[in-house]
Every structure is written in C-alpha cells, then in structure tokens.
C-alpha cells in the first residue's frame, strides 16, 4: 500500500488554531509530515510598522489568543527599555498577577485541548469552564475577557477595581480545590497514561538544538525559565519553583503544566500581598497617544510564556511608528521544526498530542 496524503486541520477538533499539517501516512503511521501555516496570516509584524506605537496595543494581543498578555507585556517592556522608563511598582505587581492568571488559564485550555484527541471530554468541559473563572477576573480588571489591551507602555491602563483582590483570592481558592479533581480525571486516568506516556518524545539535545523552550525543554530536565534566569517584573522577589521532568514525553509535559498551576497561584498570592498603593503608569513620551514617539534604538526583550520563551525584537528610528518589530514566538521551533522531525513514525492520533503538549499557538507562527 502506498502513501496516503491527508490534511489535519485547519478545521479539526484536535487542531490548535488555524493551522494545518499535511500528513503522508501508511496505514496509521505517519511517514512524513509537513506543517502548513498561513491560515491566519495577518502579517502582524508588518502591520505594526504601519501603525502608531499606541495603535499596536490593539494588534499585539491578537498574536496569541489564549495568552494575549504576554504580547502586551513584551511590547510594553521593549518600549519602556528603549525609552528608559521606570514603571511604577504597583503596575509591575499588577502585570505579574495578570501574567500568572493568564498562565493558569492557558494551562486549563491545554487540558481542554488534550481532551479532544483523547476522547476524554470531561477535561475540555472542566478546563474551559474553570478558565472562564479567570476570564471573569480579566473582565473586571481590564474590561475584556480575551483581548485585554491592559498592559501599556509605562504601566497598566487603569488601577485595579475595588474588591478585585477578593475576587482573585476566591478564584484561586476555587482552583486549588479543583486540582485534586484534575489530578484524578486526567493524571490518574488510564487513557491518558496509555496515550501520553512515552508518546511524542523529545530528547534534551534535540530540544536544545531546535531551540525548544518552556515546558518542552523543562520536560527534558533543563530548568530553563526566563522568570528565573533573567527575571523581569518582580519575579526575583517572589518564591516559586520551576517544575522539571526528565522523560521528555507528552505525559510529562502535560504534568508539568499541571504542576505549574500551584506555583502560579503562589506567585499571585505573594504579589497581592506585596503590591503597594500608588501610581499605575507614567508617561513615556510627550504629548498625546497620536504623537507617541519612542527613542531611537533597538532592543530584545523576552518573557516566559506558557509555551516557552517569548521575545520581541523592536527597532525604533525615533518616529511615530515602529521601524521593525520581530517576534520570537515560542511555538515556532516546537511546531514547524518538530512536526517535520518528530511526527514521522508516530501514529496519526498522536499528532494533536504533540501539538497540544508542545503548546502551539498558530497566529504566533503566522505573525
């Protein structure tokens, strides 16, 4: 029997976003696989060159739907570094809270995402519903559930509303109470063990060679986390651990995501305690937002996204628009390289498992 070619995605319950993998299979086994990005290509990076610095604040969160705040953070951080602006302390703590909440929400989405290909639908229901609790917080804090457009150069757009701290703490308490349930339904589940353990293996050397970061590299025993190795915001002022595994398979990657949730909760609680009163932003440029200018220069800033290292390389010619913005999406190495290299030899049904546990976010690739 010869090879059969078929398309996985862009529309498929197991596909993570508008992305496609062209697979050549023999029987159930993938012989070759080719990533086909571009279904969501908006040309984010090029669009940014044609928009005012401030207008890009509405564009950048769309580069990654499940984790928009990472983009806001990188963009703002880059501009602040170019302008030499010191962000008020309160704003930095608020940013940390947002980023960690987004991390939890994203991990929940990942649990949901793995449910489809495994046929374990309780996972998606729970994951999406509990993620919504965090989106409720975002709605109260930022005014929007998905695209927050809240982290801006110089700080955050508004101060925290009253009673939001209670809301956050209650939600965290709820999430903590749910962790055992998740442990039971996902991690002590025979289906999950059978389908994930030893699947979509990635060894340390290859991961390093491919530039895999985040969970992908940490699952091979490398404790690489930007929050620890190059702390931004106040990550060096809070206590937390970076869970690491050595197996490098899909199960350990999913497990690491789960283990990161209590760590994020720990960070948020500390941030809420340590956060002082005060200003939440400072002007970084003279005049109004239409005349916002960033000093000449170039900068690379990076933060730890749920999928790994997320970086922005920003070049400013001192004008009203960015001269160039290039984004290092964490998904890129693990998806485009990984698909071609690692999917051959696996079974068809393991393809979405690779995509989910490695954490692909297609717009980030299609930037």
């Amino acid at each position: 029997m010869g090879e059969v070619k078929f398309f996985f995605g862009p529309n498929h319950p197991g596909m993570h976003g508008n992305f496609s993998v062209h697979m050549y299979v023999e029987g159930d086994t993938v012989v070759r696989a080719k990533p086909v990005p571009g279904f969501l290509h908006r040309g984010f990076e090029k669009l940014m060159e044609r928009r005012l610095w401030y207008q890009n604040l509405a564009l950048v969160p769309r580069i990654c739907v499940p984790e928009p705040d990472i983009n806001e953070m990188c963009y703002a951080m880059g501009i602040e570094k170019l302008a030499g602006v010191e962000v008020p302390e309160r704003a930095q703590w608020i940013r940390m809270i947002i980023l960690e909440l987004a991390r939890i929400a994203n991990h929940f989405m990942s649990f949901a995402g793995i449910g489809g290909p495994l046929g374990l639908y309780t996972g998606p229901f729970w994951g999406v519903a509990d993620r919504d609790k965090i989106l409720d917080i975002f709605e109260s804090l930022t005014g929007a559930r998905i695209y927050h457009m809240y982290i801006v150069p110089g700080g955050v757009r508004k101060d925290m509303p009253p009673k939001i701290q209670d809301m956050i703490l209650k939600t965290l308490e709820y999430i903590e109470s749910r962790l055992d349930d998740y442990d039971n339904i996902i991690f002590k589940n025979r289906i999950v063990h059978t389908r994930l353990k030893g699947i979509a293996l990635l060894d340390r050397n290859t991961a390093l060679e491919m530039g895999v970061t985040g969970i992908g590299i940490r699952a091979t025993g490398v404790p690489y986390d930007i929050r620890k190795i190059d702390p931004y915001l106040f990550y060096d002022k809070v206590e937390f651990e970076v869970p690491v595994a050595t197996e490098g398979d899909a199960y350990s990657r999913l497990r690491l995501k789960f283990l990161e949730i209590p760590q994020s909760i720990k960070i948020i609680k500390q941030a809420l305690e340590k956060m002082p009163e005060g200003k939440v932003n400072v002007p970084i440029s003279e005049g109004n937002a239409l005349r916002f200018r960033v000093p000449k220069g170039q900068v690379y800033v990076h933060v730890e996204a749920t999928r790994g290292e997320y970086g922005y390389f920003i070049v400013s010619d001192g004008g009203e628009k960015p001269y160039r913005v290039t984004i290092r999406g964490a998904s890129y190495p693990q998806t485009l390289y990984g698909i071609e290299k690692y999917l051959p030899g696996t079974r068809i049904e393991d393809v979405p498992i690779w995509l989910d546990t490695m954490g692909i976010c297609s717009p980030e690739v299609d930037r």
């Binding site: 509990d130 700080g155 508004k158 589940n189 350990s252 932003n281 937002a289």
Partner: protein
C-alpha cells in the same frame, strides 16, 4: 513516570464522582439568566452629542479604522465644532476603547452590553448616540476614561515670561518664547482635528505647521505658514506670521478641542517659535517663491495687515504692487497701535521685509487724497485696494472731554511708540490716569502709561473703567486684563462716565454712574444705569478708548456715492470687491476687527483682484 503504567486511581473514585451531580454548575442558562458584564466592560459605544464636537480624534486613534466621521445635517454650524459624529463599524472594531480614552470632550463611552443580534449587517454600523446601539435610555455604562487611561496631555507647556513687577519697568517684550524642546513638547499635544483651521479667519494650516514643529522641520513649518496650501492658491497662508505669533487674538485657541477638557494648544506661541527661529535671510531660499509676471499693477492704500497681506499675495501671483502709507513707517496698527512690549518693531520689520523682497514697493509719508489724488491711482493702476483702518478715535462726548488732557487712545499710542523708537516727542506722562474703555486698546493704553509712570515716578496709578460689569463681559482678552492687574493697573468695571471733572483748568478725574445692564435680552448694546449710585475716579489725565472710527476723507465724493456703506463699513462681496469693479477693500473698514481678519481680507481681495484682472484681460 514509566510508560504505560496503570493510573493509580483511588478504589473509591467512581463513587466520589457522584459528588459532581450535586454541585452548582458553573454555566448559566442563557437567555433565562442575564449575566451582568463587569463595571468597566468594553461593550458598545455611546456618544453624548451635546458634548461631542466632531473633532475626529477617536477615528484617528482607532487601530482598525472602525470609526469614520459622518456629516450630520441636523447639527447646526458652530464655531469650535464640526457637524460630524463618529460612526462605528463593529465589523472592524477591536473594542480597545482607545477612542474613549482619547476623546477630547469625554462624550464617548462604552456600555456593558455584549449582545447584539440582527440579521441585517447594516445594523452593525451605527452612529452612537446617548441611547447606544439598542436605542434605550439609561444604558449601563461600562468603560470610561479615567486619569490613568487618558491618552491626552491636557496641560500646556508653560510659557516663560517676566513677572508683572519686572515687566512694568520697561517696554521690553516680556514673553520669552519657547525653546526647541518646549515647542516640540507642546506640538506633541495637538490632535490635528483642524477645528482651529475652521475657526481661523485666514484658515491657516495650523495642524500642519504644528506637526512640522513636532517633526523638528522648521523649514516645512515656515512653508505652511507663508504658503499655506500652495496647490490651492496659498490658501491659509499668513505673511504676518511673526506678528500673529505674538499678538493674534488667537480664536484658534478658543476653538481648540483640547480646551474642552484641558488647556488649548499654545498655537500662537508655536507660530512665533517657527518665525523666531528662522533668520530673515533664509526666507527666500526656504520659501522659493517664483512668481510669473502678469504685467499688471495694483495700488494699495494703507499698509496695515490687510493692505500688506494683499500686497504679498498679489506679489506671489506676479502682480506689480505699490503700497501708499500716510505715516512715516509701514505697518499701520501693528506699528502704531500695539505696544512694543507685545510686538517689537523688529518682528514687524522682518515680516514686512519679506513682502518687500517679493518686489512690493511701499511709499511711506504719502497720504492718498492729499499727496496723491485717488483718481490718479485709478489712472495709473489696474486695480486699487483700500485698507485704511479705523484711524480716528471715538469720544464719549461727556462734558469735559474737550479738555486737552482728555485724549483719544490711538493718537496717544502712536505718540508713545514714536517716542520709544526715538522718532517723536515725549508724551505727557500723568501721575494718575483714568482710561475709559474695556477693550484691548484700553488695555494697551493703560499698560503703556503704567510703564511710563514706573519709569518717571517709580509707581503706577492707572485706573480702567468700563460699562461692562465684570472681566468676562469686557471685550479685552482675559490675559490682557490679568497681566494689567499684575502690572498694577486697577480696574473698575460696571461704571458709565458722566463727566470729566475739571478744576482750575486741570482735569481731576471722572464722575461715574453705576451701569446695571450693558446688553438687552437680544444681545444688543443697550446700557442701563442706576443714576443714584455714583462714584469718582481721580486722575490728571483721561484717555477715551471706547472704539475707533474710519476716515474716508481720501475718497472722492463720486466714489463714495457709488459704493455702499453699512454702519460705517464698506460693503464688498466675498472677494472684497466693492460695487466699483476695480475697487477692492479690506481690513477694519470692511469687517476685520483684528490683524488676522485683515490678513484674510488681504488674501481674498488678492484672489478677487486676480480674478477681476484675468477676466479683464480675457475680455
């Protein structure tokens, strides 16, 4: 974590799962349960039309081009407003609320609504009003701007100037002008709504030259000032940019959209910054005006702002222009009316020098009607433009005004300026002075005499009295009043003069009665007095500054009979053409109460003359 190990699940796990049956679900039954959005939710838009001025700043900041400005016919034309309102296209809107945060009036807000269902796609493009997309009263408000999210800088960059106690000691210009950094910062506040352009009588291209400052391109800025829209016959150009950068009545700033929530852009000072920072000798190269000669000659009577502006625009068109001025120097009211602490001679000279550099000839000390007959102008030139201004003073006519120590404002100001430029005798400096009038001319007199008093006697005793009952009612600019106060001038608003009291042939002051009303309910000037409430202001000299009058003595009777006058002013068409085809008029004697109106008159008259002479040629 070994491969394929069986999950270590609790023996009781299946039983435990039953607990979920009794838990409250996290989902809600839509539409039976209504979910309230968060307080700062970014839902649909609402716009308070009463507050909105149609500036379009929301559309400019919109990252997705979801906002367009649409002309609304029902909205009345008002200064400081555009008859436009934002239209939102929800097919494009990213719900970022930057439009709300940058709104210059605070009229835009977002609601807490998040559901809008319609089969008609057109329903998703709408002009928000206070009732929002669903047309309901009391829409739940969501995202509103606060001081943290505000995207405008509301405070203007402060202008450095001498303190009142210092500046009253001399006639030195007291406003220092912006530095480069200050000017660029101030320019960065502009939202380019161009409401100022609509308001400016000359329609100067204000946002454009402000943007050039922000870009640090002063040459480009000067081209905007002096050439306006070159492709549209210099529309919006102002040859008196140096002068207007100092003494313009700056209606533009009153109209500035930032005025609604903060301080208007310092448009006047920014204009001054451009002119001050470009040497006169560079003008020619930067502006590069190369007119094509038209072999036609135009005479201009009067070298005030209207006359010289007309000369400038005509010269750029290629006409040969001769200007006749009866006084010793050109400039009219700019030279002889406005005190040098507000407008130094060298600034005016700089503006006039460039006009002359274009080939305009100015004949000073030549009074039309005396030194040269008006009829001769008709014979020698293809068209004539008159702009002789309001050169005569007006008197209250109360008893005592015939005394030589009761003088008119304009001649006195002329005397002071001539004296200061070493061109005339020293004017009488009274130890105490009463100025009657509440306009800018009254302020000029009061502040000039205050300076002379300070130099002569070391103290100020100037009293200004006016019918207007408070500073807001007075026609003078508020800054003139405030600065006068700082310089020691005392104000007595709300009094009408009865008589100038003279004792032993010397003026000793003015008797006044209480003014209870200046304008009637229709806004017409109709002063009413309380005859029982009187007061007296002592002063050994009195200046009447209650308005000026035109002097048409240079016009022959037959011309006067052919042209139409309305309340002392000449009637012209939009191109400042009188009923005599070759005679054009502008400035105070037509409609311009200030310099910028004069410049506008000069511009439109030049366009009118060009059109008239072109047709004449064709004919």
């Amino acid at each position: 974590m070994k491969k394929n190990t069986t999950a270590e699940k609790d023996f009781f796990a299946p039983i435990k799962a039953w607990k979920f049956l009794f838990k409250k679900p996290v989902t809600i039954k839509v539409p039976y349960v209504k979910r309230e959005a968060a307080e700062r939710y970014r839902g649909f838009h609402i716009n308070d039309w009463e507050k909105c001025i149609g500036c379009g700043t929301c559309a400019k900041i919109c990252p997705t081009d979801a906002i367009k400005m649409e002309e609304i016919r029902e909205i009345p034309q008002k200064y400081g407003e555009k008859p436009q309102r934002p239209v939102i296209d929800y097919g494009r809107c990213s719900f970022c609320a930057m439009c709300v945060d940058i709104c210059t009036t605070g009229s835009l807000k977002m609601t807490r609504e998040y559901v809008h269902i319609s089969k008609d796609p057109e329903d998703f493009i709408f002009i928000p009003t206070e009732k929002g997309i669903h047309g309901i009263e009391n829409v739940p408000i969501g995202w509103t701007r606060d001081e943290n999210s505000d995207l405008l800088e509301l405070e203007r960059v402060e202008m450095e100037m001498l303190q009142g106690s210092e500046r009253v000691k001399s006639f030195i210009e007291y406003v220092k002008g912006y530095s480069k950094e200050q000017a660029m910062h101030e320019a960065a506040r502009c939202v380019e709504c161009a409401i100022c352009t609509d308001r400016c009588p000359e329609h100067m291209q204000i946002p454009e030259y402000i943007k050039s400052i922000w870009k640090d391109d002063l040459n480009e800025a000067l081209r905007w000032l002096m050439k306006g829209k070159e492709s549209e016959n210099y529309f919006g150009a102002n040859p008196f940019s140096g002068v207007c950068g100092r003494v313009c009545t700056h209606k533009c700033e009153e109209a500035c959209s930032l005025n609604n929530r903060g301080e208007a852009i310092a448009i006047r000072w920014l204009k001054r910054y451009i002119v001050d920072n470009i040497p006169e000798e560079d003008y020619g190269k930067i502006l590069d005006i190369k007119p094509s000669p038209k072999n036609k000659k135009v005479a201009i009577v009067g070298s005030g702002p209207a006359g010289l502006s007309a000369a400038y625009f005509l010269a750029t068109m290629g006409y040969e222009v001769d200007v006749y001025e009866s006084l010793g120097k050109p400039g009219g009211v700019m030279r002889y009316g406005i005190p040098s602490y507000r407008l130094p001679d060298e600034i005016l000279d700089k503006d006039i020098a460039f006009i002359q550099a274009l080939g305009v000839k100015i004949f000073v000390g030549v009074a039309v009607g005396k030194d040269i007959k008006f009829e001769e102008l008709k014979e020698k030139y293809d068209a004539v433009f008159v702009s002789t201004g309001f050169s005569l003073g007006r008197s209250t006519g109360i008893p005592g005004t015939e005394h030589p120590d009761v003088v008119q404002a304009l001649p006195l100001l002329r005397e002071i300026r001539d004296y200061l430029r070493n061109g005339g005798a020293k004017p009488k400096v009274p130890k105490s002075l009463v100025v009657i009038g509440g306009g800018n001319v009254a302020m000029d007199v009061a502040r000039s005499i205050a300076r002379l008093q300070m130099q002569e006697y070391g103290k100020v005793d100037v009293k200004v009295t006016s019918l207007e009952r408070n500073y807001e009612e007075m026609p003078a600019d508020m800054e003139e009043i405030e600065e006068g106060l700082e310089e020691g001038v005392k104000f007595y608003p709300g009094w009408g003069p009865i008589k100038v009291k003279v004792e032993n042939d010397k003026v000793i002051g003015v008797e006044l009665k209480k003014c209870v009303q200046v304008f009637d309910e229709n806004g017409k000037f109709s002063p009413q007095f309380n005859e029982n409430e009187k007061t007296f202001l002592n002063g050994e000299m009195v200046v009447e500054a209650i308005g000026q009058a035109p002097d048409y003595s240079y016009l022959p009777e037959d011309i006067k009979n052919k042209i139409e006058f309305i309340r002392g002013r000449l009637l012209t068409n939009e191109y400042r053409q009188t009923s005599i085809k070759w005679l054009f008029a502008g400035g105070d004697i037509v409609n311009g109460p200030d310099i910028i109106h004069g410049v506008a008159d000069g511009y439109w008259a030049a366009r009118g003359i060009d059109e008239y002479l072109s047709q004449k040629k064709e004919g």
